[in-house]
Amino acid sequence: MKQYRAHLLVCAGTGCVSCGSFKIKEALEKEIQKKKLQDEVLVIATGCNGFCERGPILMVHPDGVFYQQLKVADIPFLVEEHLLKGRPVKKLMYIPPEEKEPIPRMKDIEFFKHQRLIVLRNRGRIDPEKVEEYIAFDGYEAMGKALSEMTPEKIIADITASGLRGRGGAGFPTGKKWAAGRAAKGSPKYLICNGDEGDPGAFMDRSILEADPHAILEGMVIGAKAIGAEKGFIYIRHEYPLALKRVEIAIKQARDNGLLGEDILGTGFNFDLEIVQGAGAFVSGEETALMASVEGRVAMPRQRPPYPAQKGLWNKPTVINNVETWATVPNIILRGAKWFSGLGTKTSKGTKIFSLVGKINNTGLVEVPMGITLRDVVYGIGGGIPGGREFKAVQIGGPSGGCIPAKMLDLTVDYESLTGAGAMMGSGGLIVMDDKTCMVDIAKYFMNFLRDESCGKCVSCREGTQRMWEIIKKITEGKGTEKDLDVLEDVARTCKDASLCGLGQTAANPVLSTLQYFRHEYEAHILDRRCPAGVCTALIRYVVVAEKCTGCQACKNACPTQSIKGTLKDVHLIEQTKCIKCGACQEACRFEAIEAQREEAIQII
């Protein structure tokens, strides 16, 4: 082991990679070679750090200094100052919005301070493509314990006592599922890891797969011992090439080192894993559809019972769990059920990973203990709404979830309290919305997603999502009637009641929850023909306010369709027939002379 005095951890999750973090790594290595520091300073690429808003990210250890938004041009100066002269570079550090002083250490930054990393404990800390780094941080220790010292019954008892619930969305008690799998008759038994994360805005599973793939392998081997399975499948959606690559490397390294395959760790236990790629459908995240896909058939759900634990893949007992659930298992086995159940609330134990996206300052991935309030997540960790705008709602649970309005911000994050509020924990996507977001438009967006992704088997979902989308679209175009709201609710209720699978049963949630908390917005669109948030383009017109216009031509230059007419120093005019309502003119104007007005209140200039 070379004696390094400093480690540079470059974040290489997909978010930072797309911002050029591999180029940053190359630049660092080059500069370090130049300064002859290669025997003292190690550069490695890690998985996602979580603070995706600020990528590319670099962590310098042992100092614990957090660098963000790096450019290749910054690197020579950084290496010279920090690594040679010991002076961390202030201008590359994180400065919270509205403040002036940078915060050098990661553990002092609000975004990271309030998180409790269990599943994501290795994020940004290890090179996911080196199994020895995983082992260095207690990796495979739990697996060793499970295979050599524990009986299957004891493993299941521990998981049950911990209170772990499925993190894929439904929150079914994991111990119960494993016990059913163990008790089921039939052989061989299978395990599946559901990595088909399809919710728009969700990237929790992707981050785990990219940052710490061995955690899943370890969890699945432990599960295999508990249930009595010999083969497992990791289903990863086709759209995650980096995750696929890292898991492939992890499986190969595990096999090469006797941590997977035959005679694992010399204990005589056999279990092997295979990767299956998804084919681009959201519905294949539904467990019965996923199994159909693994079997090579079209991903369409079927009736349950029989449940997969009794009759799953090829009619054999199959236990399917989400990526996050599998990655939590080694932690529970290693540190004990009591430790895990000490975190969280009475019914929801442990931590949950959320992807915090939308109109929020600190976009990224956070792991928080259950029971934290939404207010703490949005304002504490999230840093509030950018531009000082007002918080309006947060969509939880993706397209199967619902919106929580501002008045319910003190709701605690917990399976039951979220379902009680008309939303759903779901896989953990948290989309924050401000007062410039139109809730009807949001409902339209999700219904469009769902009608596209419905498998089409049952009438209630296939036709239901289509018709709900049509009605909402009509409303956003200003053609809605009051009767439409009744029809919308009718279709929504039936779609929820009569659909075959989880997709259909929860497809109506965006509609029902926005109707519950934001009915006034629907009514404004219908009765006033007005979009309060100023989003629905059919209901707004951009007009120049003659008294304020100075004729500076800024709007004319900004307009992408050349719809603005006017000569220098003269009041300008927007030609409505050519205007595409993009709002660029309003943004460009420095005199607040452009207003988005209601369709009917046209100013004649």
Binding site: Q3, E40, P62, G86, R87, L265
Partner: protein, 130 residues
Amino acid sequence: MAEKKKLRIQDLAKIREKTRALTTIRESEGRAKVTVHMGTCGIAAGAREIMDALLDEMQKNKVQDVIVSTSGCAGLCNREPMATVEFKGQPPVKYVDLTPEKMRKIFAEHVLCGRLVPAFALAVGSETVY
């Protein structure tokens, strides 16, 4: 880990020991920290050689639980090269007018055995920062 050796449970613990340096650095969990002052004055006075000597000693003695850090100018430029040795829970000790040999001696006495070397030390403790 290039060799395709099948691991046993005992091997996991061995690997953890071998890679202790990793956890030490990334978790900032050393039992002691040695900071070599590498401001412009320090580098001009020869701090690089001090650093090389320190790292060499660490490698030779297979020390995995000590953190090595750098910092900028400490303020006492005419006594450079300087290094500070800090043990967990104890006040830091500043060593001045260093040479690579002195650094090695300090490493052997203070870092490895916990015995302060008064002849090379300037002071114990640090400046008050309001």
